[in-house]
Structure formats: C-alpha cells, structure tokens
Symmetry: C2
C-alpha cells in the first residue's frame, strides 16, 4: 500500500550506519581510530559484489547516500571549526601558508617526474595533471582523527587545518592553470586572478562577519525570537549557508562549513540561556551523519581496478610519491618552538574529492585516460586509508613522550 520512496533511504541508511558501527567496534578492539574501521566497513560492503553477491549493489552510486555523506563531512568540518578559535588560526597563519605552499610544490614536481618515469610516452599535459592531482589535501580524515584523539587543540592541528583552507584556494588556482594549459597551451592570468580574488573575498567576508556581525545578530535573535530549537537551527542554517556560499565563491563546501564553525563561538549563543553548549547540540547530528561520510568513502572503492599490472605498479609508485611528498610539509617553516613536524606532514597526506575532480576534468578533456583515472582513484583511497593509523601511532607516541618528560 505505502509505495513510499523513503523505504530505500531507510534501508540504505540503516545498512551504512550498522556497517560503520561494526567497523568502529573492530577498529576499537585493535586500538585503531574508529574512522579507519568505518572506511574499511565501506570497502567491505563494496567488495561483496566481487564475490557475486549483488544484494548490496543498491548502496553504490546511491545519490541519497552521497547527499547524507556530503552533509556528514560538512557537519564534521563545522564541528572542527567550532572547536577551533579564529585568533589561534590567525596566529599560525604564516606557518599554515608555508605548509600549504610546500604541500603543493613538492607533490606537483615529484608527481610530474615520477609519472613520466613509470609510464612511457605519457604526454606532457597528462604529467601536469597527475602532478596537479597530487597537490590537493582533503582535511576530513585528519580532522576526524585529531578530533577522536582529542588533539584538535594543539599547534600542529591548527597549522594543518589552516593549511587545508589555503590548500583549497591553491587547488582552485592550479586547476585553472592546468585546464588553461590543456585547452590553449598558455596560462590564463586573468582567470587565475579572478579565482584567487573570489576565494580571498569569501575568507575575508567570513572573518569580518565573525568579528563584527555574529555576536550582535545572534544576541538579537536570542533576545527577541528565542522559540524552541532556535539555537541549533540557527547554527545549522549558518553552517549550510556558509558551505553553500563557499561553493558560490568557488571554494569547497567543507571550507565554508569550517569557516562558519571558526567564526561562531559559544559566547555568541549565551543569551539563548540554554543548558547545553552549541557543540553539545551538534554532537548527536554528527554521530548520525559523520560516519556515513566515511563508510560511503570506503564504498566508493572499486577493488576490481586492481587487475591491470601496469595500474598496480604505477599506483604503488604514485602512492609513495603522494605520501612522501606531503611529509615535506612538516619542514616547511622555521621555528624555535618544538613541533612534531612529521605529524604535520602526515596530517596533510589524505587526498579526496578535489583530487578526483582534477582527474575527472583531465578525463573530460582527454588528457587523463581510463588507466590514469584508475590510478588517481587508488591514490586517493590509499592516502585516505593509511593516514588514520599513522596519525594515531604518532599522537600516542607524542603523548607518551610528554608524560615521560613531565615525570
């Protein structure tokens, strides 16, 4: 009777949430970050079809799951932004800029040369795309591990988060450059200028709104229109609109959500006289949505790609390039303070949807073939999967050292 399209949504969400929790339980029992378990749960679900089980195929290319997954990573970065302070991010600004710059230059150069060495007769423009594809850090994984291990409130975490925002702007510029080169053979400085300008305007407007508008507006709403649920709804609308506007300014939605979290502060919401902080209100929504992002990321892994030996060898080589080239980020700035430089480098390793956008654009203009695309996908997945355990290992070691030094 009830031919309700929601039933597929309910089934997809239930399976993904259940798989995520089972993965988290397994990861927990091996003392690994929960996010690794969620990613591998997704990979496991995806690989069922390799064994002839097609029952779970409805989870793949499922637009509803993609929607919830995107909202999940938006909520995650908003939460991370809420836990970070604008002033502290500005304080590490120069370091973040240097980290982001090194994290773009080194992978680009290494990616360009290594791809030329391992695949013969690769056109110059294809090498440029492979190099460019390796530049874009995706901060979701790192943010989640930092958050799970209570590490967000450290200098290293702040530098990496700041660098990720700058990295996104640099990524935009690089895509404009390489697409221009592929299309016309020349570098289009006007479009580069306009892209950089727009992205910078968004960041500046966010900071100004945070400094001069947020407190007044939110206090006004709290005093005049405090209906039940107002505080959380207001925060969510700010998060979603920030993510939307970031996209309209050419940036990633998650950068917008992070900026909105950054400019919002619990102090702004004190006139709501709520017994809970904003973070406590957001947390259940994050428990609901965030794991969906990581399970779906795992679900997008297509293990059948690993059948062509050239794909395997090239992927191994480029994964190594992708991993080691970002480690250089840790040594991007001089400092007399003590930093875990390797932690900063590892934090920059994960690539994500922006890398895949590079590969897709390259594919659509014909400079990235199916094999190169498969390699790009494998690099994105590998950097995503290896980062959580390494980060967890480094952070645990770091806290032990700290305890030893104290005693």
């Amino acid at each position: 009777m009830h031919l309700d399209p929601i039933v597929n949504v309910l089934l997809s969400l239930s399976v993904v949430m259940l798989a995520g929790k089972i993965g988290a339980i397994v990861a927990h029992s091996f003392k690994q970050p929960l996010v690794l378990g969620e990613l591998l749960a997704g990979v496991t679900l995806a690989s069922f079809s390799l064994f002839g089980l097609s029952e779970l195929d409805f989870l793949k290319d499922n637009s509803i799951l993609e929607t919830f997954s995107s909202l999940g990573v938006i909520i995650l970065l908003f939460e991370v932004g809420l836990e970070s302070k604008l002033s502290e991010m500005v304080a590490v600004g120069t370091k973040s800029l240097l980290v982001a710059t090194v994290g773009v230059i080194v992978p680009f150069i290494l990616g360009y040369y290594v791809s030329g060495m391992i695949i013969h007769d690769l056109p110059n423009v294809s090498k440029i795309f492979i190099g460019a594809m390796l530049t874009a850090t995706s901060v979701g994984i790192t943010a989640r591990v930092f958050k799970d291990l209570n590490f967000l409130n450290t200098k290293e975490a702040k530098i990496v988060l700041g660098a990720a925002v700058i990295d996104d702007i640099l990524g935009l510029i690089i895509l404009a450059v390489v697409s221009g080169i592929a299309a016309t053979g020349v570098v289009d400085f006007i479009s580069i200028g306009s892209i950089s300008l727009k992205a910078t305007i968004f960041i500046l407007l966010s900071v100004l709104a945070g400094l001069f508008l947020a407190k007044k507006t939110i206090t006004l709403i709290a005093n005049k229109w405090n209906v039940p649920g107002m505080m959380l709804s207001l925060a969510l609308v700010i998060c979603f609109m920030g993510a939307y506007l970031a996209n309209q300014f050419g940036l990633a939605t998650i950068v917008g959500a992070f900026c909105m979290g950054l400019i919002l502060d619990d102090v702004h919401f004190k006139n709501f006289n709520s017994d809970k902080t904003l973070e406590e209100y957001i947390q259940p929504i994050s428990v609901f949505l965030v794991p969906i992002f990581f399970v779906v990321t795992g679900l997008n892994v297509d293990i059948s790609l690993l059948q062509d030996p050239i794909v395997i060898y090239s992927s191994i080589a480029l994964c190594l390039v992708a991993i080691f080239s970002k480690l250089a980020c840790g040594w991007a700035f001089p400092s007399k303070e003590k930093f875990s430089r390797i932690l900063i480098g590892v934090g920059m390793i994960p690539r994500g949807e922006v890398g895949l956008i590079f590969a897709s654009v390259g594919k659509s203009i014909g400079v990235v073939d199916d094999r190169l695309y498969a390699i790009a996908v494998i690099v994105v997945i590998t950097t995503t999967l290896v980062t959580p355990p390494i980060l967890a290992f480094l952070i645990n070691k770091l806290s032990k050292t700290a305890i030893n030094e104290q005693s």
Copy 2:
C-alpha cells in the same frame, strides 16, 4: 570548480529551515502552536510562484526535501513513541480500537452520501473512494501539537496515538476492499485476510521484541561494544529498520517508527552509562529534521486549485464532513472516567499521505477525476491546517479548568 550536487541540498535545506523558524516565531507571537507557523511558512513559500516569482520553484517536487521531510516525520513519531509507554498503550487498547473504528465508519458513510449529494451523476465507485479517502487519520500533526504542549502523557493522547496505529491497519484493509470493488465489483476476502494478518504480525512481533529481546540485546551491546556514539546510532538504526520493516509488512513507515519508540525505554540503555537520556540524544536530530516535514507539507499546497467554483463548493462541503465526522470518535467508547471527548475527536481530524494514496489509486484506475483529486488534496490540507489551533485552544482551556478546580 567544485561542481558538487550537495549545493542544491544545502540551499533547499537552508531556505526551508529558515522559513520554518520564521513561521514558528510568528506563530509563537500569536500564541499559536509552532507547527501551524511551519505549515503556513511552507504555504507562503509555495504561493510565491502565483505572484510570478519563480525563484523558489526549486523547492517544489524536490526529492531531497521529500526525503528529509519523510525522515523528519519518522523521527517525530519515534520520539513520540519513546515518550509513550507500551503498557499504557495496551491499557487504553480497547478505547483506541473503538475510536479508530468509529473514525472509519462515520467519515466513510458521510463522505459517501455527501459526495453524491453535492456532485451530480457521480458513479457509485467514485463515492466509495471519496468515503474511503476520508477514513485515514494521519497522526503527525496531532502528535506534534501534543508534544509541543506537553500533553503526550495524558489518557487522551494515548487513546489517539493508539487509534492512529489501528487506523493505519484499517486503512490498509479498506484500500484493498475498495480497489477490489473498483476492479472486479466484488470484495476479495482472501487479500483482506492476508493484509490484516501481515499488519497484525508486525505489531505483535514488535511487542514481543520489546518485551523479550530489547533489554537483553541492548545491554549486551552496551557492555561489549560501547564505542563512542553507539547508543544514539543503535537507536536510530532500530528506528529506521522498524520503519522499513513496517513498510514491508504493508504498514506506514511512521507506524513502524512509533512502534520502535514505544518498545524502547531508557532503562534498556542504562548500561551505556551515558550522562544523557536517549530522548536528549534524539532531540537535536528532531530539531533539525521535524520542522522540514511541516514546511514541506505546506509547500505541497497548490493554491491554484482554488479556481474552479465547483471545486471550491465541494471542498468546503467535504472539509466539513471530514472535520465533523471524526469528532464522533470522541464518543466512541463508554467510560466513567472524565475524558475530553472533543479533544480525542479533534486529534483524529488530520488526514495525510494515506488519504492522498487513496486518491492517487482512485485516479490511476479512473474512478477519481482531476476535480475529485483536487478536492481530496484540499481536504487533506485543510484538516492539517485547522487542527493545530483547535487542539491548542482545547488544551489551554483544559489546563485552565484543571487549575480552577484545584484552587
């Protein structure tokens, strides 16, 4: 650069959430239930296009909004179930059964005769469909008003909620009967039997799972696999799977969600050693999703239907039938206790998606024409819009009387 399909989702959600909150603020200032403000906010958004403003047209027939809206009403009924106790529902079972039965018979008979009187030459089978369409109560609105006004924990609320569950089963049977009559001219007792059996099995299995399985299983999970976020994720998976299974047994998803909420109890979750109750965890998700349901319900109103005078007159007549025929529910059972019988009747007034399903099925087999369909839509909307203010008025009067009697 980031050609992300999520941007439309972000914009749609932001606009709907913002409109819902503005509606809630206005309703609050007029001392009306917030849900009325949310419904009218949706109607307002929908009517922009009548004035030539097409900017908001993306909100209509928006499958993403429909998804979030459906999840919203599922979460609402789950929450309402959590706040109700199984034993208390069983205690009012007979009363609920009588209320549901009267609430089916009276609207059916009145709908059948009145539709024949106001529209000449209406075929018998069309009159049967109009009658049947008026039988199905949709409990979302009533549940929300009861919840907002802290009225869930009363005998009246429990009787109405129980009656809504039974009403859904009766609705299934009626649809089988009238579809059978329309198709073959006879009543198909075998399919009626199988439908009733399946629905009853779902309810019984839920109750058994609640009595014998829930506590043990949840305690086991809490003791062995209590990873962060487990308690809320587990509850959400139970809610979503219950809604899914209800649909597989032929019932509405919201009936499944309500049953799951009903069988879950905070006691089951005490081994998670959480500082929050399950209801406190669910509440932010409900603040996020539930208003989307009501704004989207308002958005589905097509005011342009009101151009044909016959549609207007017939709608007025059938709306009156729809409203007054359900009032009879309040007097469905004998009792020496004091009940607000009119409150029970009003609580049963709202019709919803099940009524529209009747109209759609009738339309697809050719016994409901475009006009009758428009009338059905108007009846559903009107019953939805008039109920919140009447309920709020009655509940306020009731609490004042109670205070006067005490003093």
